[in-house]
């Protein structure tokens, strides 16, 4: 678990999101992909959005970048980045921010770089766009960053095309590209999911050390709780478009409270235990359809504690302890350690 703090909890947040919702028009109606999600992240801090596939992690990040698909509609009471209200920016102003002050890293490094341009071109391009300066300046910055991320022979690498590099190297290039303009915030959407396990660890370590060095805020999206444990200062657990539990990762791992979080943690294989029974996402039941209005608790069809009110009541976030909250009708004592067996 991330022991030392690399951020100051008294710093003002780099990004503050409040009640972010995204509705997507689909043939069957309106899909509520993200539902009133709130979180914030400070300089040097890592916030992890974690949850099963389809719970709205990518859509949340694309909403912040304002890169949502055409059919999607965004609403939020606040998306404040570095003192600026992103929702109020024009598309032109937003484009000036993307890649410049907010960087984004995607899941599949094999397809995220343009196959027909040299790595160097693609790195320099983002710098020239936002920082101006000359090609030489951009090239120097690229070489500096490549050295920084431990690439031997940067000058030669920059002349290569993406298909000439391994997956891990490409993801490093992607990271270097998004660092070209020295952003305040990096959003990494499952940056290691497509990579080999050994490479995954290296990429995560790299992100961690770069973040410390440049004091960037990092939003790390993952479905892997191991990654959360290794990386995150804070964590927001998402289920069916909602945040169902959030807090410091120490608190959430120590006192997981929402039945979904507890289910996820139970599913992590412990040392010496056979992994077969414990695969992530092996909580029985399926995620409800997000199309149309959803009343009550979204987790009730999979919850062992569900009772009558769960189908109708408004379920809000409530505190477990200071800075640690969860979305459930039952009080935290219900889930005290001993009662875990009930589930």
């Amino acid at each position: 678990m991330s022991g030392a703090h690399h951020y100051n909890p008294d710093d003002p947040p780099v990004l503050e999101v409040e009640d972010l919702s995204v509705d997507i028009k689909v043939p069957a109606g309106t899909l509520h992909a993200v539902n009133k999600v709130s979180f914030s992240v400070r300089p040097g801090e890592t916030l992890s959005l974690v949850g099963e596939s389809g719970c709205g992690k990518s859509i949340t990040s694309l909403a912040i970048m304002r890169l949502l698909p055409k059919a999607a509609r965004l609403s939020a009471s606040k998306i404040i980045f570095d003192g600026q209200d992103l929702a109020a920016l024009s598309e032109k102003q937003m484009a000036r921010l993307r890649g410049n002050r907010i960087g984004m890293i995607f899941q599949d490094p094999m397809t995220s770089l343009n196959p027909v341009y040299r790595i160097g071109d693609q790195l320099e391009e983002i710098y020239l766009r936002h920082k101006g300066g000359g090609r030489r300046e951009a090239r120097e910055r690229a070489e500096y960053l490549l050295e920084k991320i431990g690439i031997i022979n940067p000058t030669q690498r920059l002349t290569q095309f993406p298909h000439q590099l391994s997956g891990g190297l490409r993801q490093r290039m992607m990271i270097a590209m998004m660092l070209m303009c020295d952003p305040k915030l990096i959003i990494a959407d499952e940056p290691t999911t497509a990579l080999d396990v050994t490479v995954q660890v290296q990429i995560l370590q790299l992100l961690r050390s770069l973040q410390e060095e440049f004091r960037m805020a990092l939003i790390l999206i993952t479905h892997n709780l191991g990654v959360v444990a290794r990386m995150a200062d804070h964590v927001a657990v998402m289920y069916a478009g909602q945040v169902v539990e959030k807090g410091s990762s120490a608190d959430v791992f120590r006192h997981p409270t929402h039945p979904y979080t507890r289910g996820l943690l139970e599913c992590i294989p412990h040392p010496g235990q056979s992994a077969t029974r414990n695969k992530l996402g092996s909580i029985p039941g399926i995620v409800p359809s997000l199309v149309g209005r959803i009343d009550g608790c979204t987790f009730r069809n999979r919850c062992n504690y569900a009772f009558g009110d769960c189908a109708t009541a408004q379920v809000g976030l409530r505190d477990v302890e200071d800075g640690h909250s969860y979305r459930c009708l039952l009080p935290p004592e219900t889930f005290a350690a001993g009662k875990l067996e009930k589930a």
Partner: protein, 325 residues
């Protein structure tokens, strides 16, 4: 690369050889050349004499080999009718056809690519449907019909005769003699306007459709999302990052289209009375001017092969993943 070129050139030679054999057989077996040459009232002896004179009495294989060895030495023979050297007949008309083909391809691409990009960006809107409508209309309209419509509109209604070709007075449209129109001597650039429009209309639809399809796919790609996430301007995203990837099939198609244009403008050249290779082929076929037709066939086959080769080389330049092997 050198390997690739050698292999492709050998293939080109083999194809040219095959085309020349097939062409030779078809052309020679389709009619009695000596009878035609001897004239309508010729007696059997006249025909036999003509055959002997032109060497047509020899075995077909001997005649073919004779033709082949001459051709390999650069001698394509003479026209059976005008007795001009075939090589000069073709090369003197080539500029007309090449101008027509390249101009048509150029304007076809100039309209088709932006239209295809627009249709993809505005997919499933009325703009997209409008572009599709234009493409379907273009594809469904026969060349000659469109040419005649253009002549009718410009020549008969608006009497913009300068825009029309040389031998217009001989053409009847819907049974109506186009008399009273001046017949100019040489072809100025104005004479190319309507034929180029006709041929560009023929080229445009397929290129537009393939541009749209390619762009649709590429616009949903991860690297275009990356380009957006880099904050690049919409122009850079669309043309630098997307179009460059979507253009590869367009290049291949354009090469094939150019081949069509170089060989297929017979109708358009005839209707607009432009004296190009297509028109020469048409006239020569009519009078069974065997050496001319045979040479045109072989030259066109070679140009097809060179064009596809060129397209492959351009694609390899455009996409570093394409290996020429």
């Amino acid at each position: 690369m050198a390997n690739f070129l050698t292999r492709r050139l050998i293939i080109a030679l083999l194809v040219a050889l095959t085309v020349s054999i097939v062409g030779f057989s078809l052309l020679r077996l389709s009619g009695d050349l000596a009878a035609v040459l001897a004239g309508e009232d010729a007696s059997a002896e006249d025909i036999a004499r003509t055959a002997a004179q032109y060497g047509l009495d020899r075995h077909l294989i001997v005649q073919y080999l004779d033709w082949l060895f001459n051709a390999l030495r650069g001698n394509l023979g003479q026209s059976l009718f005008t007795h001009e050297p075939v090589w000069e007949m073709i090369t003197s008309r080539l500029p007309v056809t090449i101008t027509l083909a390249f101009a048509a391809l150029f304007f076809g691409l100039l309209i088709a690519i932006p239209l295809g990009v627009l249709a993809a960006v505005k997919a499933n809107t009325w703009t997209d449907r409008g572009a599709l409508f234009v493409a379907v209309m273009g594809q469904a309209t026969p060349n000659f019909w469109f040419a005649l419509i253009l002549i009718y509109v410009f020549g008969v209604w608006w009497r913009q005769a300068t825009i029309l070709g040389v031998r217009l007075a001989e053409i009847k449209i819907f049974g109506m003699q186009l008399s009273g129109l001046p017949i100019s001597g040489g072809a100025t650039w104005l004479h190319y306007v309507l034929p180029v429009v006709t041929l560009a209309t023929f080229v445009m639809p397929a290129i537009m459709r393939i541009t749209r399809t390619g762009m649709m796919e590429v616009l949903n790609s991860d690297y275009v999302r990356t380009a957006r996430a880099k904050g690049l301007s919409p122009g850079k995203v669309l043309f630098k990052h997307a179009l460059r990837n979507a253009i590869l099939p367009v290049v291949s198609l354009a090469a094939v289209q150019l081949g069509f244009l170089l060989s297929g403008s017979v109708i358009v050249e005839s209707i607009f009375a432009l004296n190009g290779v297509g028109y020469l082929a048409f006239e020569s076929i009519k009078r069974i001017d065997f050496p001319v037709v045979q040479s045109i066939l072989v030259i066109l086959a070679c140009s097809y092969i060179l064009l596809t080769l060129l397209a492959d080389i351009i694609n390899a330049k455009l996409d570093p993943r394409v290996r020429l092997e």
